[in-house]
Symmetry: C2
Subunit: 300 residues, 2 copies
């Protein structure tokens, strides 16, 4: 089985939406990613939490078979994020970010993870992303996320990271910011010259687009009557996407397309509940059912 | 062959985009619709223009076999629209609307058009839309467009029109305004109670969604490197959609989905040039080629 190494944040999120509130709930990019990807394959998590991190969440990761050798428990408080969404759930407003133990986080990859074939670098400082890549041995497929902050403040470092990356997963505004192009086709071409051979543009309720050098694939956002909390949708998507590739042991065009669908289906579950609650309720049966519903949305 | 009756505007458009300018070019909802639909079937146009309307445009319609018995040439000036687009081509800014002869337009349907099986009511006053429906004899399939102005200012009249309509084609903001629902699934359900059994939501670069009572179908916007002028994209879409239904002589679910693709492909041609220029260059060959490219964007 192909294992996946993920490096990113594990956090406690306080989220306010028009449909309810979650307080100090399990969150963080690496959390959503791991829980989604563990549905398909072995995931190994590298992150840091504080001594206040609830033991039940550690048990939760363990119950999913997620490798925790690289999860550092450091003296201090866990990373916290506080955010709010309006009725238009597309855009989160960050009210507070407390880095806490994440401020001094230096990813150190356990020896047993060094030959991970699949690597996901969640949205962290591009210097740290490269520190991970410097440690692992020739991974088969590396994907990464980033955000506007790094694109504008640490562009040089980010570009160095991108040279070593196969797939970049970012949202539309980030694509435009990174490439300097409004048009997505032109933007994708520019991004291909930076290193990645594959670009996945996340468009929230409008779905996602997979650009590779000779093909474009569009998926819609799964239409839901109730979206409770969009937090983590992108990382859940990435987890479903990478998990699918690892499980199918391929990164060819057909598998990539299927993986984008798997990621979309996973993300559609995640947003139906606060924090990771609804994602955790996912079963093989409900997953297959939604895959069928999803493909029928695009079938002629 | 199933003919289509269309009632709407024929206009002279002055359009300014970051990529160029068109002055007094052929425009109007019924124009784009007719030229697109005439690619597939016989179209009969009911509209009014002024005595200043260039004869070459009349010849253009005639060259497409478009029926002009219902095209009234009235003493006065033709309807004019002046608009502007920014780099974000999604939203037109209307600078000037001169109704001119359109102000007193009363659609009178020529006797030979009264049994048209397919009817498209372009975006005009819902009173006039109903005046058309009062004249035609039991059409098989009626589709209509509208806009925020009528939804808010003439809601009652619009609701009366909708009772007699099979398909409503509007954009996302209009769907929300009309239904009072942010969520598209709930909005579609509400709109079905108003009369239509089919709702097509136009989403600009994000494509379109076809809602019917038991099925949802998403298509992406065709990815283009250069969009010159989005004017008329929605009406071209409607023309391609209705033209396809009329040609295939069916309104079943499969045909509707194919028709949405045909409409999207048509619209993607229209926006590649100013006014109707690029739409007119469409050939059977370039249409089939793009249909193939389009379906490959959604194919697993």
């Amino acid at each position: 089985m192909n294992s996946i190494l993920v490096v990113g944040s594990v956090a406690l999120d306080t989220v306010d939406t028009p449909f309810g509130k979650a307080r100090e709930a399990l969150g963080g990019s690496a959390t959503y990613f791991s829980l989604a990807a563990s549905f398909f394959t072995q995931v190994n998590l590298v992150a840091a939490v504080g001594t206040d991190f609830p033991a039940r969440y550690i048990r939760l990761f363990a119950s999913r078979g997620i490798g925790l050798t690289g999860m550092k428990i450091t003296e201090g408080r866990t990373f916290r994020w506080t955010g709010r969404y309006g009725f238009d759930l597309n855009q989160a407003e960050t009210l507070k970010t407390e880095l806490n133990v994440f401020r001094t986080f230096k990813p150190s990859i356990p020896r047993s993870y060094l030959s991970s074939p699949f690597v996901f670098l969640a949205n962290i400082d591009p210097d740290l992303q490269r520190e991970v890549l410097g440690q692992v041995r020739k991974p088969r497929f590396v994907a990464c996320d980033t955000m506007e902050y790094w694109i504008t403040r640490k562009r040089k470092s980010l570009l160095k990271t991108l040279r070593q990356v196969d797939a970049l997963l970012i949202n539309e505004a980030e694509v435009r910011e990174l490439s300097g192009e409004v048009n997505l086709i032109r933007a994708s071409r520019k991004i291909f010259t930076m290193g990645p051979r594959c670009l996945i543009v996340k468009r929230g309720e409008y779905g996602a687009v997979l650009f590779s050098k000779d093909s474009i694939f569009f998926v819609p956002g799964f239409p839901l009557e109730e979206v409770f909390d969009p937090t983590g949708a992108g990382d859940t998507f990435a987890g479903g996407f990478m998990g699918w590739l690892a499980k199918d042991d391929s990164t060819d065009n057909y598998t990539m397309r299927r993986a984008v669908i798997a990621g979309s289906v996973m993300a559609s579950f995640a947003v139906q509940g606060f924090s990771v609650k609804h994602l955790l309720s996912l079963t093989k049966k409900s997953f297959s059912k939604r895959i069928k519903e999803f493909t029928s949305l695009m079938m002629q």
